[in-house]
């Protein structure tokens, strides 16, 4: 195929954002269509350039074709939606049923999260994997929190080593998710500002990083409720077809959940901290789009 047709197919591929199996089917089908039409036009006496441009004109804008196909395939099944919401439900149960105080339950929850993330990873990275994958950062976050309890000098050394490692890990996982669809990175990162919000609220006043377990006990129903809100968001996200609706849903739901944290905190979450958490959430939702743009710009157009 000539360059302009290859570029057209690449543009469609870049905007499809489907799983690999579906993407290969769609691209193969469109390629076959273009080859048939191109050949027919060449047989009718058109030059290569004329034939290629006519094919593109008949098919229409690459972005529009990709968007329409995306909207057919993007809607996950109810089963996928429920599976995707499960890690949030697990955390909601952990707090509402007060299981968070039992080491056994924490180990079971962590085992479930790592197990499901691994299962999804080796089974074609389906849509339901991303929320599970997000929770895999939790042990890393907790390890970072524990570093704060080391003796003062050691704590700084550990943090200097820890931060670049975590940044590298987050970057690598984000890039892998973005390659599939940057919106899924947003879904994966959505709990982060909420969890940080609860950590800040539960910090003993003036002595952070000391956590007041009494306060966590007192706030457990609120914490459970916020995770249930995340679960409902995930179900709605998987069931929606349009990208812009998914993005608006993530932002609105994340913001409402943060408001819920602030209301439960009885003034322990100050306005500047709330605004910083909102900014963090916006950053986590939108920065994958920038990474996506950068990856695409870095791609060389394939010409054969």
């Amino acid at each position: 195929m000539i360059a302009v047709l290859n570029q057209y197919i690449d543009d469609i591929r870049d905007n499809l954002r489907l799983n690999l199996a579906n993407e290969n089917d769609v691209i193969g089908e469109l390629q076959s269509h273009i080859e048939d039409e191109f050949q027919e036009m060449r047989d009718a006496g058109l030059s290569e350039e004329e034939a290629a441009n006519t094919c593109i004109k008949f098919l229409g804008s690459a972005k529009l074709v990709a968007r329409q196909i995306y909207e057919v395939h993007s809607q996950g099944t109810w089963r996928q939606a429920l599976l995707a919401s499960m890690p949030h439900v697990l955390f909601a149960l952990l707090f509402t049923l007060n299981w968070w105080q039992g080491v056994g339950w924490l180990i079971i929850t962590l085992g479930c999260i790592l197990g499901m993330a691994f299962y999804g990873w080796v089974h074609g990275r389906p849509e339901w994997l991303f929320p599970w994958r997000g929770y895999c950062f939790l042990p890393v976050l907790v390890a970072g929190g524990l570093l704060l309890y080391l003796p003062r000098g050691w704590s700084w050394v550990a943090i200097v080593i820890y931060l670049p490692l975590v940044c590298g890990l987050v970057w690598s996982v984000t890039v892998k998710s973005v390659k599939r669809d940057w919106l899924y990175s947003g879904l994966m990162m959505l709990p982060v500002p909420i969890i940080i919000g609860w950590f800040l609220v539960a910090g003993t006043e003036g002595e952070f990083p000391r956590i007041s377990l009494d306060y966590v006990r007192h706030s457990a129903p609120g914490i459970g409720l916020s995770f249930l809100a995340l679960a409902a968001t995930t179900v709605a996200f998987i069931r929606l077809r349009k990208r812009w609706m998914r993005l608006v849903l993530l932002f609105l739901s994340g913001e409402l959940t943060l408001v819920m944290v602030a209301l439960y905190s009885n003034g322990r979450l100050s306005l500047p901290t709330f605004l910083l958490l909102t900014l963090l959430m916006l950053g986590l939702l939108l920065s994958p789009a920038l990474v996506d743009r950068r990856i695409r710009r870095g791609k060389q157009p394939s010409i054969s």
Partner: protein, 111 residues
């Protein structure tokens, strides 16, 4: 052309089902057949064909299968399913009723 598009709204999926019901077809063939059988009246916007076919496939009305041609190329043929056949019968009957009713009202007075 605008008026034609209005008349076609909601009819594209039954048209596709009907064509695929007659024989398994691939995308480009569907466009050509539709144009030929309607004597040029129906010209499917090519970019909208595949989303429509995939919608039918997701609904379980057709199924797509890759076939290897002697030339080594592959084409994705669509086959109507049992569910698709049942829906097609319903749509045919609805369409006949609609046409009869339309003809009763729209036909010239002196006929």
């Amino acid at each position: 052309m605008e008026q034609r598009l209005d008349l076609m709204k909601g009819s594209s999926e039954p048209l596709l089902l009907c064509l695929i019901g007659q024989q398994p077809m691939y995308g480009y063939q569907i466009i050509k057949e539709l144009e030929k059988k309607s004597q040029g009246y129906f010209k499917f916007k090519e970019g909208t064909l595949y989303p429509a076919l995939h919608r039918l496939e997701k609904a379980g009305l057709v199924t797509g299968k890759w076939q290897l041609l002697p030339s080594g190329r592959q084409r994705r043929y669509y086959y109507i399913t049992e569910k698709g056949n049942k829906l097609l019968e319903v749509k045919r009957s609805q369409w006949q009723d609609f046409l009869t009713a339309m003809n009763l009202i729209i036909k010239p007075m002196n006929l």
